[in-house]
Subunit: 395 residues, 2 copies
């Protein structure tokens, strides 16, 4: 859309689709205007899954590409044509969801040609979905969709009134059924948005349920940063830009048990026993899952630790975790849990820690399922792990 | 956050807040990385509500600012210092919520220093909230918050399975009460996200309810583009980048009456009579509100038309609208509606059309409340109109 004056925006198109029957009009009410420029299609996904990114920027002197499929620290270089359009072709890429930024004369930007972008912590990037087998599980397919709700709750443990996301499966509103619950925890730098936005947890569950692979369940996605009421977009005061969220090791886990779980079991139609409770998390959320499962034997029959092990680098937190494992794993075992699931990519920087975790569990003869994938510490892996984990629950 | 290698991201900070008691750790799981650069604070809001924007971009040759508070088509020019930091100071600005882009060597970007950004149609911009009297009504204040749910429903009228947002007021989950319903429609180029993201409708209702100014109510925010299942972020196929959404004049209004309303009244605890139904919309949604109220006398006691009148430029749509007004306004009148509310800014390009609408209503001796504000076709006005309209409902 060009930079129309307000008056001409009013009637952008009055066109007759079927003459005399339907008039189609557009009365624009957009505050954020698109720049007047040469129209480019970006990203342009070719039939072989290679992708061309394009940017009209005759005044720019250097444009590079930073994509989540690239090795850390590497970029691609755009070439400029005589009309001022920069372009670069990458791939072919595996079907998956990726994120990328254009770096224009040193400044990170989202792709102005791409209407899909997402926030990851304090940064924004454009979204690229390569359709295909690996993407079907998280795409918005033509299947019944559950509801995704942003709900505020009191956390006396944290002294905060705070927000979480709750997924209720298709049919929840219409039925009187009770459902099992999966508590799903995000990683460091993330917040309560992450599992549905970057992780597509709601669409993954929709698809698994539609295929009969997963049981209909409620999924609770909390904010694991114990000092935050809500994601940056939904709280009044911004921290210093780029400040790290702080997260106390036992503080959030306690609030999940003492505040979140009672709220959910009171206000939703849940089945309130360990056979119908699961907990899983990625990275920091995987650490929190370990802490919660070790300290609360008999609460969860299903536990999932994605991309996190016993990381010696974490000092006292790890020492405490090992201590609680030694004290409590046998208790968890005696309570007959059904699943302890571990997943990690061979290129993940926590790989050695996961090895330690498995050794610790082996030492206690504590059974687990281990899923070793390719790749590293990425949402592509976490979406896959959830897709593999959820069908194993509540059966 | 710098561009750490994955290994060093793991332990960004292991610090003891209260020695020996709480360990605070951060295990980063962010896929979208922040660039390594000089840390700037942007936007920096001064005590007099002037605002300095800053950008580290030593390689850029020209940086301008495009803000929603500026006159259409104007920009501000950044100045570069010897360290490569560009900055510009604007204002003082009135307390409100604004959006802006940085134009870096001709390319529109969001502010990399600002963690808050929003989508408006197919474009993204950074968010700026100037705190103060005018902002309190839509801020995330320390009051009870209702839930905001994304719900999918069948629309046989449109042949689509599609998404809407539903706000349920604080206490809805815990109570057995029934509530009145406001149907709230977005403008052209918008979608079901718009009233909660740009319009902050949920926070406005939270605040009005907490102050005892508005009755607790359910608010239903639909997608008024009759060819869309959901916002661009939540549907599989993207249209051509920048393509205009098409919207048939009577098609969406009919689907609201025949599909949306029955779904809501079946699945939510609603009071199902005209005294407890309201409908309002902005711009295109104001047109849809006019069509719906004229064609469905006796369904709604409360109607709100924000920034939209009888726009002769819209051709056949307007001719039909005038015809249905002439045929039906007396019927609506005989049904003893309680409120017909019109609001427009004196600088709005639809101002003359609103004059025509008022003349048409006067001609029928059809009572209405008229709120003429400053400003134009802006979200600042629509947030204010909602804040003025909602307290008048269901009383």
């Amino acid at each position: 859309m060009g930079k129309h004056t307000l008056k001409t925006i009013l009637i952008i198109c009055v066109m007759t689709l079927q003459p005399g029957i339907v008039n189609v009009i557009n009365v624009s009410a957009q505050e954020i205007q698109r720049q007047q420029n040469v129209r480019v299609v970006s990203p342009d996904i070719k039939s072989d899954n290679s992708v061309t990114f394009s940017l009209y920027a005759p005044e720019a002197t250097n444009v590079t590409l930073n994509g989540s499929w690239m090795a850390q620290g590497t970029t691609g270089t755009f070439e400029k044509n005589s009309e001022g359009v920069w372009s670069i072709t990458v791939g072919p890429l595996e079907p998956s969801m990726y994120h990328y930024n254009l770096i224009v004369d040193g400044v990170r930007a989202i792709d102005p040609g791409n209407p899909k972008a997402q926030r990851d912590g304090v940064n924004y990037a454009s979204t690229l979905i390569i359709p295909g087998t690996g993407s079907e599980i998280f795409e918005v397919n033509n299947v019944p969709h559950g509801a995704l709700s942003k709900v505020w709750y009191n956390s006396p443990s944290l002294g905060l009134y705070r927000r979480m996301y709750i997924y209720t499966p298709p049919g929840y509103e219409e039925s009187n059924e009770k459902y099992p619950v999966l508590y799903l925890l995000h990683g460091g730098g993330g917040d309560e948005d992450a599992w549905s936005s970057l992780g597509r947890a709601n669409y993954i569950l929709d698809n698994l349920i539609a295929q009969g692979k997963a049981k209909p369940m409620i999924v609770v996605m909390t904010n694991g940063n114990s000092d935050q009421t809500a994601a940056i977009t939904d709280r009044k005061l911004a921290p210093t830009a780029g400040a790290m969220n702080t997260m106390a090791s036992n503080v959030f886990p306690n609030s999940l048990i003492n505040d979140v779980m009672p709220y959910i079991e009171k206000n939703y139609r849940t089945i309130n026993n360990k056979e119908n409770r699961a907990i899983a998390g990625l990275s920091m959320g995987g650490l929190q899952t370990q802490i919660i499962s070790a300290n609360n034997p008999g609460l969860f029959d299903y536990m999932g630790v994605f991309s996190m092990g016993i990381q010696m680098e974490l000092g006292e937190v790890t020492t405490n975790l090992i201590k609680s494992y030694d004290e409590n794993l046998d208790k968890v075992k005696r309570n007959n849990y059904k699943l302890f699931y571990i997943a990690v990519g061979v290129e993940d920087f926590v790989y050695e820690g996961v090895k330690l975790l498995r050794e610790k569990l082996d030492e206690h003869d504590f059974k687990y399922i281990y899923n070793e994938s390719s790749g590293g510490h990425t949402w592509a892996n976490w979406r896959n792990y959830l897709s593999d984990f959820a069908p194993r629950l509540f059966k």
